[in-house]
């Protein structure tokens, strides 16, 4: 590439196109290289993937990561046989030959014994997201192991959000359609304000919307992030959003009476008939769910071509049983959720809840349409959006879906002004090649099914079986991720399961599992017992130092070829009507020392392990669009379009093949090196696809009811006595365990919450000295934020050192920042802290909030597996920090 704009005769200077390494959102960037040294990074003005030339602070700071003298340059092995937190690994440099052969030998032995004994983890973290979820995951899948133990963002990732994103939008996540939105109720998230999804793309879009007058109401325990940019901040107790959502639903359906009935009728399963056994009443011959056609006054299957007017509610007799529509049942259920009740639970004033319902309905303009490019679309310029703060709780399935059901009532999903699946889940492809081409479709029971997906197939849920995986995902059919095996009770559960096998090898790509996922002491219980661990990282951290036997030096994103980060719609296709903008990660400079590029590394390891054919097949299936998910057993053969089973390609050659497959022979890697990226107009029916795809979304979660008996039977045997009432197909109020595990008048009167700071992606950026400099000047980032009035009651003063102690006796300490922009009962902490020798800048900075969390079945959502990330704590002043 290297669009060589030489501006000086003294230096060789060029700009190199790549993809940002600051978080997992993959904005397109240009890197300036002078005399072989990357010196600057900025956005690409002509691209809609990112800030149109702009970049957020942490993205700009990534140049400093590149130059970190603490980066890993050679393979190393541990010489201290003792593993554990705070241990010094006493690294010793070894050759690639020794490193790879040792790893391959361990893998081969494990594969022969039981491939499931290989447990693997990754983080979709800075600069690595799709190398992780594609290159690394496929390697371990090719070893025959589906035993992924989520690393990095792990338990705090989107167990409920991605589940709901898939079912509701065929997408990984959701974002408002800022281009047309007039009103956003934002709950527990910071996207569009520097954090979270689509990073600079959504910041740019949200800013333009605010500037033209879009109203933002932020309902969040914390008011100094998105709340500070909003028109209004409504403080709420954590994990109680569900009460407000269900109460708003009640007001909309039963008091205001204006909601998008046609949307529910034609685009949801709320009109499927439900029998007394809580399952759908199905056609006796075809087994398909039945609906009641009001026009012909008879039951018909959902795909009956004569079906014209499905009944929304009412009681019917079909197949000899009395039945109701799913919507009817939910409508009846939510009558109990009045705003006075919700107010007592959430601390949001009753009147404000009533007004939120009115505002949403008024602003959504239900029934209105808008014309774009000569096509007419429903126009719904209002939505509710949320993320971590809504979904990372023990009641998250019901809480997160309750939020989604508000959008269903408004009929605003994937239509102009409403809420969109992110990035864009329907693509007609580049005008010249017709690729990439994917779109959602109506799958089993007519339900929305993503046309492209990485990780495990989201719909239909797999059969309940097991336990055969340490992550228990085989048992929990509606969960895509959960805290297992990093839990307090894993050993006990595994023993009760008869210990089907012992974990022999732990392979980790990127990330810092010991710190990022749960309380480090709990992570240690699992990681400390594994005979052999290897890790691929750019820099050491608490996990590699504590537990890895061998660490391989990965390339930094800016010295790497990575076409995986270009494919898929998860964070890398611009959302809404923004143009398609397809970037490729290409090296600005060649890697130094003995760093090896990720795909080359996995190719070599695949050869040595004897799984090259399997690995190539996964890559072929994914990149050619034959099958994108992790389960590929049923993918047929056929001529390879990108890579043959035994073919040996280098990483750049592989990028070249993929690019040519997508854009034609003329547009391979050379073309992208020269031109940087490719962009083309998006058609409105691509981003506003909802009424162009014949598929329905769930309002009634039948599979949850269907899976309940078997999940319950297995889990009870394992000693996991969860609240099985949560396995109801109707979205229902359930309080989080944080409100039930201690008496109301407990001395642990505060709720500790962790939030994402604008400059920090997980813990990665903490090692960046420029980010550190900024963070030190930020009054919130490194401190524990506490409500000023609450602090006065406790005799705590601004800048005091306080100890935050959980009711299990876990403690963290830090300096307090008093604020009026936080709920009185809440302490806000960015999850930081650390002690690794390999990260000297990060050492001792900030507070490790995760140390206050407990991880076990009691603190996990029984349905989707989200870990509760709020902890009941007390706070008191101490003289000085004493923690390690």
């Amino acid at each position: 590439m290297k669009s060589k704009i030489s501006t000086s005769t003294k230096q060789e200077e060029y700009w190199s196109y790549s993809i940002c390494a600051g978080c997992y959102n993959l904005c397109g960037v240009k890197i300036k290289v002078v005399d072989g040294v990357p010196v600057a990074v900025e956005g690409v003005p002509e691209s809609d993937l990112g800030g149109r030339g702009g970049m957020c602070g942490k993205g700009v700071a990534t140049i400093m990561d590149f130059h970190d003298p603490n980066r890993i340059n050679y393979p190393v092995k541990r010489t201290n046989p003792k593993k554990g937190l705070y241990e010094d690994p006493k690294w010793e440099r070894i050759s690639w030959e020794e490193a790879l052969e040792t790893i391959a030998d361990k893998l081969r032995t494990a594969i022969d014994k039981d491939p499931r004994s290989i447990v693997w983890a990754f983080t979709p973290g800075p600069g690595t997201p799709f190398k992780a979820t594609v290159f690394a995951s496929f390697f371990f899948l090719a070893c025959g192991s589906l035993n992924q133990a989520f690393g990095g963002v792990g338990s705090q990732c989107g167990a409920a959000a991605h589940h709901a994103g898939a079912l509701m939008h065929a997408a990984w996540d959701i974002l408002p359609d800022y281009r047309f939105s007039n009103y956003v109720l934002r709950c527990g998230g910071n996207e569009g304000h520097g954090g979270g999804r689509m990073a600079s793309t959504s910041m740019r879009q949200a800013a333009a919307a605010r500037d033209r007058g879009m109203r933002t109401v932020v309902m969040d325990p914390i008011g100094f992030r998105a709340g500070a940019d909003a028109d209004e901040w409504i403080p709420i107790l954590p994990a109680t959003d569900i009460a407000v959502f269900l109460s708003i639903a009640n007001l909309i359906v039963h008091e205001i009476g204006i909601y998008d009935k046609e949307y529910i009728r034609n685009k949801t399963n709320g009109v499927y008939l439900v029998g007394p056994d809580t399952l759908f009443v199905r056609d006796k011959e075809s087994g398909k769910p039945l609906l009641w056609d009001e026009k012909d006054n008879q039951a018909k299957t959902y795909d009956d071509p004569t079906l014209s007017h499905p009944a929304l509610d009412g009681e019917y007799t079909v197949n000899g049983v009395t039945c109701h529509t799913g919507f009817h049942l939910w409508k009846e259920l939510i009558k109990q959720y009045d705003p006075g009740w919700a107010s007592k639970i959430s601390s949001v004033p009753e009147e404000r809840i009533r007004n939120l319902a009115k505002e949403l309905v008024e602003e959504a303009r239900i029934g209105s349409t808008i014309e774009i490019d000569g096509k007419t679309f429903p126009y719904r310029p209002a939505c509710v959006v949320g993320y971590k703060g809504v979904q990372s709780h023990q009641n998250s399935f019901h809480q997160y879906l309750a939020m989604n059901l508000l959008n269903v009532l408004l009929g605003n999903q994937d239509v102009p002004g409403g809420i969109l699946g992110s990035g864009t889940v329907r693509s007609f492809g580049h005008p010249e090649s017709g690729r990439p081409n994917f779109e959602p479709f109506g799958g089993v029971d007519g339900m929305l099914t993503p046309g492209f997906w990485h990780t495990r197939t989201p719909w239909p849920p797999h059969e309940v079986k097991g336990p055969g995986l340490v992550n228990l995902l085989d048992v929990m059919a509606d969960s895509s991720m959960n805290p297992y095996p990093y839990t307090d009770d894993f050993e006990e559960i595994w023993t009760k399961a008869g210990r089907p096998y012992e974990v022999e090898v732990y392979g980790n790509y990127g990330g810092n599992v010991a710190m990022n996922i749960v309380n480090p002491d709990i992570a240690e219980k699992f990681l400390g017992n594994i005979p052999f661990s290897f890790s691929i990282n750019t820099i050491h951290n608490e996990t590699t130092e504590g537990f890895a036997d061998i660490v391989l030096p990965d390339c930094h994103a800016y010295e790497s070829h990575d076409v995986a980060s270009s494919i898929g719609f998860f964070f890398n296709y611009p959302i809404g009507l923004d143009k398609w903008s397809f970037h490729v990660r290409m090296p600005a400079v060649e890697p130094k020392f003995e760093r090896k590029d990720t795909l080359d590394l996995f190719f070599e390891l695949a050869d040595r392990t004897g799984i090259r054919k399997e690995y190539n097949t996964f890559l072929e299936n994914y990149f050619s669009g034959k099958s994108s998910t992790w389960e590929q057993e049923d993918v047929g053969g056929g001529e390879p379009e990108i890579i043959g089973p035994d073919e040996k390609l280098s990483g750049p050659e592989f990028s070249d093949r993929v690019l040519k497959f997508y854009f034609g022979e003329e547009k391979g890697l050379d073309w992208f090196e020269e031109n940087g990226f490719i962009t083309w107009e998006k058609k409105p029916e691509e981003c506003y696809w909802r009424y162009f795809i014949d598929a329905r979304i769930p309002m009634y979660f039948e599979t949850v009811a269907k899976n309940k008996p078997k999940v319950k039977e297995i889990c009870e045997k394992l000693g996991m006595h969860m609240n099985w009432d949560c396995y109801t197909p109707l979205i229902t109020y359930f309080p989080s365990v944080i409100f039930t595990e201690l008496p109301e008048d407990s001395e642990y009167d505060l709720l500790g919450v962790s939030y994402r700071d604008v400059l920090h992606t997980h813990r990665h950026m903490l090692e960046n000295p420029i980010v550190d400099e900024m963070s030190a000047s930020n009054p919130y980032t490194y401190n524990i934020v506490m409500n000023q009035e609450m602090a006065e009651k406790k005799g705590i003063e601004d800048k005091d050192i306080i100890c935050v102690e959980s009711h299990w006796g876990d403690k963290v300490e830090g300096r307090v920042k008093l604020s009026l922009l936080i709920h009185p009962n809440v302490l806000g902490v960015v999850g930081l802290g650390g002690w690794a020798k390999g990260r000297p800048i990060a050492k001792g900075k900030g507070v490790n909030f995760n140390a206050l969390l407990r991880s076990d079945y009691k603190h996990m959502c029984p349905v989707v597996g989200s870990l509760e990330i709020v902890s009941r704590v007390k706070a008191y002043t101490v003289k000085r920090r004493t923690e390690k």
């Binding site: 005399d35 702009g54 400093m64 003298p69 940019d229 604020s819 922009l821």
Partner: protein, 217 residues
């Protein structure tokens, strides 16, 4: 001709892009920032409390106190309004630093600070010494990226419109909150926006007529 900047706080998301880009553009050493993000919580009754986040930089005041107090003539105002420091003339007395009502000047200490203390200068820092050398023992501050402005104009570009001629902090802002242009031209985009959005400078009561304006949300 008077160069000025407008920062629309309705759009600003407080991401630090401008502050960090400025450091990168000018290879500023540790602890030296030409731009900053100031944050405070204004008085108010919970929960109706406003948080102020102000990206600040040298205001390139029309009536700059720093120019008045400089005993050596090192701080000077160009005809286009940009206030710059001639490092060769600066003797590091720091009168300007004290007199600046906005506290946006920094003393460049004589130490050679490393971003990774004790680990030596990185290739990036070494490159910076050649590409954008800083004199030690002098006062330093934002110069409205005058190198970009001057070079751009020479090449027939228009600062504020053409990226190559526009200050780096304006280019990098992912929310497009920053605008740069000629305050003396009533028809320039910046002048129009200042009027339309009723933008105001920070603390006009200091009487220095700052050329950085803010749209307050």
């Amino acid at each position: 001709m008077r160069w000025g900047m407008l920062i629309n706080l309705v759009k600003c998301a407080g991401c630090y892009g401008c502050v960090i880009k400025c450091k990168q553009e000018h290879f500023l050493p540790p602890d030296v920032m030409w731009g900053r993000l100031l944050m405070s919580e204004a008085e108010g009754q919970y929960p109706s409390v406003k948080k102020n986040t102000y990206p600040v930089l040298c205001n390139h005041c029309k009536e700059p106190v720093c120019v008045e107090v400089c005993p050596t003539g090192a701080t000077l105002q160009r005809e286009d309004g940009i206030v710059e420091v001639d490092s060769d003339k600066c003797m590091g007395c720091r009168y300007c630093l004290i007199s600046c009502p906005y506290q946006v000047r920094t003393y460049m200490s004589s130490e050679d600070k490393e971003y990774f203390p004790g680990q030596g200068l990185t290739e990036l820092e070494e490159a910076g010494k050649k590409l954008y050398p800083h004199q030690k023992g002098v006062v330093t501050k934002c110069n409205f990226c005058l190198e970009r402005v001057d070079k751009g104009i020479k090449e027939g570009l228009k600062p504020g419109q053409d990226r190559e001629a526009t200050p780096a902090c304006v280019n990098i802002c992912p929310t497009k909150a920053r605008y740069f242009g000629d305050l003396d031209d009533p028809d320039s985009e910046i002048s129009v926006l200042i009027r339309e959005k009723r933008a105001v400078p920070l603390h006009p009561e200091h009487g220095t007529e700052p050329c950085v304006y803010y749209v307050i949300g």
